[in-house]
């Protein structure tokens, strides 16, 4: 067995207020494919950014040895110089330049500032052949699919004489066929002696390509397992990923029991959505679910499972291309083709990305709260500013929004308080059904508890709540029922009693091969 090519020892990385990595040790052997596995937010991506110099030497503690030499990378160029290349989840290609131009971007074949096109094209064709692409190197990147773009990224890495290739969730945006091709290529490169680190939470994928897997949880490396070892079952990996205590605190909740005979407040049938650009890809695939009044229903899933896409598509077709399915409210089919229609039917969607989709950061607290329901504080198209201010003051008190006045720009509030403003805005709209997408993302523990309390109260008032989250403990602590999603499909449904972190995670990490 070959010796280690990379050793990362006791890496600690702190951001203001958050410890992203508290103690990570990673050893990668020469010529292997090493998988890194962990929940959303466990610290996988941060670790790779430390390794590739995105977070420069000095901004973290611990040491990195590559090929036995200590590394102090100042930036990405320095790590690439040593043959460490990272391919990010969001591809970093320029869409309107050709494949060849992209491959050699920043590294052009040029003499005295003039590009040598013959060399460029010949070399590009050679690299494309190595990654299994037969497209002409002068094709625009925008004109090839996402799958091929991913391969172009790898060709670009090869052009930099890569020794250690890091792929951050490389198949998250690919369909099954393209994923298969990519995984084959990783194995092919392994034969050529290139070591790879692949971040993934698709367990089937890990079993197929990886030699060993390191599990990271809450910023710590938990263990490294040999994938070929018969003891390394999927259950073994899952228990490593979730082995966290239920140390969060939740309000006392009287579990809801569905009344038989009444129609669910919201029912979604056979909902299917295609990707907005890649029309072949089903982002949401025949999903059916329902939620009753007074009930909190969770949707668990990892990144790319299609939860947000499902919610946004149901809420006024705000994502992707609709490809079938119906929405029923209180047993009757409704139209939700536009956001105003969805709101009119008493549906509210509280986004996971409050800065981009939830708030007008340059506007004030009161105006953000009233935006969706201006009609409630306006007469004949004219807003009564005093009534609006009074409403906002009411929410400032009841939701405990920490802002000097309601005239404070929302952008100046902390994340938790911004989230309270978004919630206030939708509560003021008076919906029957609230779809909450990661309502506690990026906020501190104290504010989380306040938000749980609000959610609990909303359900107690007889509203139906859909609770989308990546944090299993909070779903287990808050929900009456939990659905799991993976790769756009519903993969399981659990009652409060049946649900456990392990059981949920097993359904969340199901990928293509396993489901079939």
């Amino acid at each position: 067995m070959a010796g280690p090519v990379l050793e990362m020892r006791s890496i600690v990385k702190t951001f203001p207020g958050v410890k992203a990595l508290s103690d990570v040790t990673l050893t990668v052997r020469q010529g292997e494919v090493h998988a890194i596995c962990g929940e959303n937010g466990a610290g996988k991506s941060t670790l790779m950014k430390v390794l590739s110099g995105v977070h420069p030497h000095g901004s973290y503690e611990g040491e990195i040895l590559f090929e036995g030499e200590p590394c102090r990378f100042r930036d990405i160029r320095a790590s690439e110089h040593h043959g460490i290349v990272i391919i990010h989840q969001e591809l970093a290609l320029v869409p309107y330049l050709s494949v060849a131009e992209n491959i050699f971007l920043g590294n052009e074949h040029a003499t005295r500032g003039l590009i040598n096109w013959n060399d460029t094209l010949r070399h590009a064709t050679e690299l494309l052949r190595r990654v299994g692409l037969s497209d002409h190197p002068e094709t625009r990147v925008a004109d090839i699919g996402v799958g091929k773009q991913q391969l172009v990224e790898i060709a670009k890495a090869l052009s930099k004489k890569v020794k250690l290739l890091i792929l951050d969730e490389p198949t998250a945006a690919l369909n099954d066929e393209d994923s298969g091709k990519l995984l084959d290529l990783i194995l092919e490169l392994k034969k050529q002696g290139i070591t790879s680190i692949i971040i993934s939470h698709k367990l089937g994928e890990i079993r197929r390509v990886a030699d060993s897997v390191t599990i990271i949880r809450d910023g710590r490396s938990i263990e490294t397992l040999d994938v070929k070892d018969p003891g390394t079952t999927e259950d073994r990996i899952i228990s490593g990923m979730v082995g966290r205590d239920l140390d969060h605190r939740f309000p006392e909740r009287t579990p809801h029991h569905a009344e038989e005979g009444t129609a669910p407040a919201l029912e979604i049938r056979d909902w299917t959505v295609h990707h907005p650009i890649d029309q072949q890809r089903k982002v949401v695939d025949h999903v059916s679910l329902q939620v009753r009044r007074g009930e909190i229903v969770g949707i668990a899933g990892l990144m790319g499972a299609g939860r947000t896409e499902l919610a946004m598509s149901v809420f006024g077709r705000s994502y992707g291309r609709y490809a079938g399915g119906t929405v029923l409210k209180d047993g009757r089919e409704i139209r939700t083709k536009s956001v105003p229609e969805a709101i009119g039917h008493g549906i509210a969607y509280v986004t996971e990305d409050r800065k981009h989709y939830g708030l007008n950061l340059i506007d004030t607290v009161n105006r953000n709260i009233s935006l969706t329901s201006l009609a409630k504080v306006a007469r004949r198209g004219v807003v009564d500013e005093h009534e609006e201010r009074q409403v906002a003051e009411g929410f400032r008190t009841s939701m405990n929004i920490k802002a000097p006045t309601v005239f404070e720009p929302v952008g100046k509030l902390s994340g938790g308080n911004q989230q309270k403003v978004v919630l206030s805005k939708w509560i003021f709209a008076g919906p029957d059904v609230l779809i909450l997408d990661e309502p506690t993302r990026g906020i501190d523990v104290g504010a989380k508890f306040e938000i749980y309390t609000v959610i609990d109260k909303l359900a107690a008032e007889g509203r139906a709540v859909v609770f989308i989250s990546s944090e299993l403990p909070e779903l287990l602590g808050m929900c009456d029922r939990i659905y799991t999603m993976a790769a756009g499909r519903l993969t399981g449904e659990f009652s409060r009693a049946e649900a456990s972190q392990e059981a949920l995670m097993r359904q969340m990490t199901k990928d293509e091969e396993v489901t079939r």
Partner: protein
């Protein structure tokens, strides 16, 4: 037009201070208010400084009644355009076509009234309608077709300029019937006994003061009804005195010459009306929302396309109005009318606090920005500065105003 100055963000009073504050406290409150509304008051102060400077340099000629009257007449069309442009920029767009459109409407009005003898009120209505259609067509392409506003209105700029020359066959056409001419050049009629002042203008000024004061009191009472905190009483009274004094000074100046220009009355109505819409109407709120964060506005149920469409339709109507005013003042339609008006309107909006990325700005800001440019123009004319240097100085003024804004924002930490 002063009703808007201070009401925008009532200075938040610290608890327990809602009664009479000590004089020192009053000063502190004023400074606080100033700091919180730096952008708003900053430009107002800059305008004041420019006025004072040019008054000194021109030995007081700047503030002679005749010159103040001229200043209003010379800049009214830019101010009208700046109001519409402010809405466009707040919504996150730009309109380059307004200069050509004003020329086109002037030409259209001339063809109607001079060549075909159409009665002027009919021509007025037709012109506003044509402006609305021109704005609506551009708005439709921007909102529903998704063509960037810069492109659509750049095309509009060329098209309307060309159409103007086609309509006028390269000639200047005039004079206009008295009604249209008055719109650009006329003053309120004189009535009543001879008082050395223009009676109707005085009356109008007094009515405006009374109305403003009543409105402010009503607003304050409503705030108290909703048990909201109000500004301390002496700060409130100080504000009333300042507003009243400002209106009175302008009234006296105008009344000691020929009285209030008709276009000033139109402008005043527009400022009050649009200021109200942008502050209090659902439509206005939606404009700020789509400019501030389009995806969030969409997900909040704002019909962004409809709002964009109407913003451009409105710009078309205002451009038509400005076109009539310019044509009336020159008493002729010329193929070269309205040159660079769009740039002056855009500059006014940015000097007055608009942001390139949209979502920010007030109608009053656009007016202040327009007045800064107007006073610079007028003052430099009085000092016989050539147009060459005038352009250089106006360009620098735009740069300094926006530069100050950027610097101020960075200092306060995003």
């Amino acid at each position: 037009m002063s009703t808007d100055v201070t009401a925008r963000t009532p200075a938040p009073a610290p608890p327990g201070k809602s009664g009479d504050a000590a004089p020192g406290g009053l000063l502190r409150l004023m400074l606080d208010g100033l700091r919180n509304n730096m952008r708003q008051y900053g430009m107002l102060i800059a305008l004041g400084l420019i006025v004072v400077l040019f008054s000194v340099w021109t030995d007081g000629d700047l503030l002679l009644p005749r010159n103040v009257s001229n200043l209003v007449l010379q800049n009214s069309h830019i101010l009208i355009l700046a109001i519409g442009m402010m809405l466009v920029i707040i919504a996150g767009h730009i309109d380059l076509s307004v200069g050509s459109l004003t020329a086109f409407i002037g030409a259209f009005a001339a063809v109607l009234t001079v060549q075909h003898g159409v009665a002027w009120p009919v021509a007025l209505v037709l012109c506003l309608l044509v402006g609305a259609v021109a704005g609506a067509v551009q708005g439709f392409m921007i909102a529903y077709f998704g063509i960037p506003s810069f492109i659509v209105t750049l095309a509009g700029m060329l098209i309307f300029r060309g159409l103007t020359e086609i309509l006028l066959e390269g000639q200047t056409l005039g004079p206009f019937p008295a009604g249209l001419e008055k719109m650009g050049n006329g003053f309120l009629p004189e009535t009543g006994p001879n008082t050395n002042y223009h009676n109707l203008t005085l009356l109008l000024g007094i009515v405006l003061i009374v109305f403003t004061v009543l409105q402010e009191f009503r607003d304050r009472r409503r705030q108290q009804e909703f048990s909201l905190e109000v500004a301390p009483r002496n700060l409130f009274l100080l504000k009333l005195v300042a507003i009243s004094a400002a209106i009175l000074v302008v009234t006296m100046l105008l009344a000691s010459y020929k009285g209030a220009p008709i276009v000033l009355i139109i402008l005043g109505a527009l400022v009050v009306g649009y200021g109200y819409v942008m502050r209090n109407a659902v439509f206005g709120r939606h404009i700020y929302a789509i400019g501030g964060n389009l995806p969030a506005a969409k997900l909040s149920g704002v019909k962004d396309r409809k709002v964009t469409f109407y913003v451009f339709l409105n710009m078309g109507v205002l451009a038509a109005l400005a076109g009539l005013v310019v044509a009336g003042r020159l008493n002729a339609a010329s193929p070269k009318a309205g040159l660079n008006f769009e740039l002056e309107a855009i500059a006014s909006s940015f000097i007055g606090g608009a942001s390139m990325s949209g979502g920010v700005g007030t109608v009053l800001g656009a007016i202040i920005g327009g007045l800064v440019l107007g006073v610079l123009n007028n003052g430099m004319n009085l000092l016989s500065v050539g147009t060459d240097w005038q352009q250089v100085i106006k360009g620098l003024a735009l740069l300094v105003a926006v530069g100050f804004d950027v610097w101020n924002k960075r200092k306060s930490g995003s």
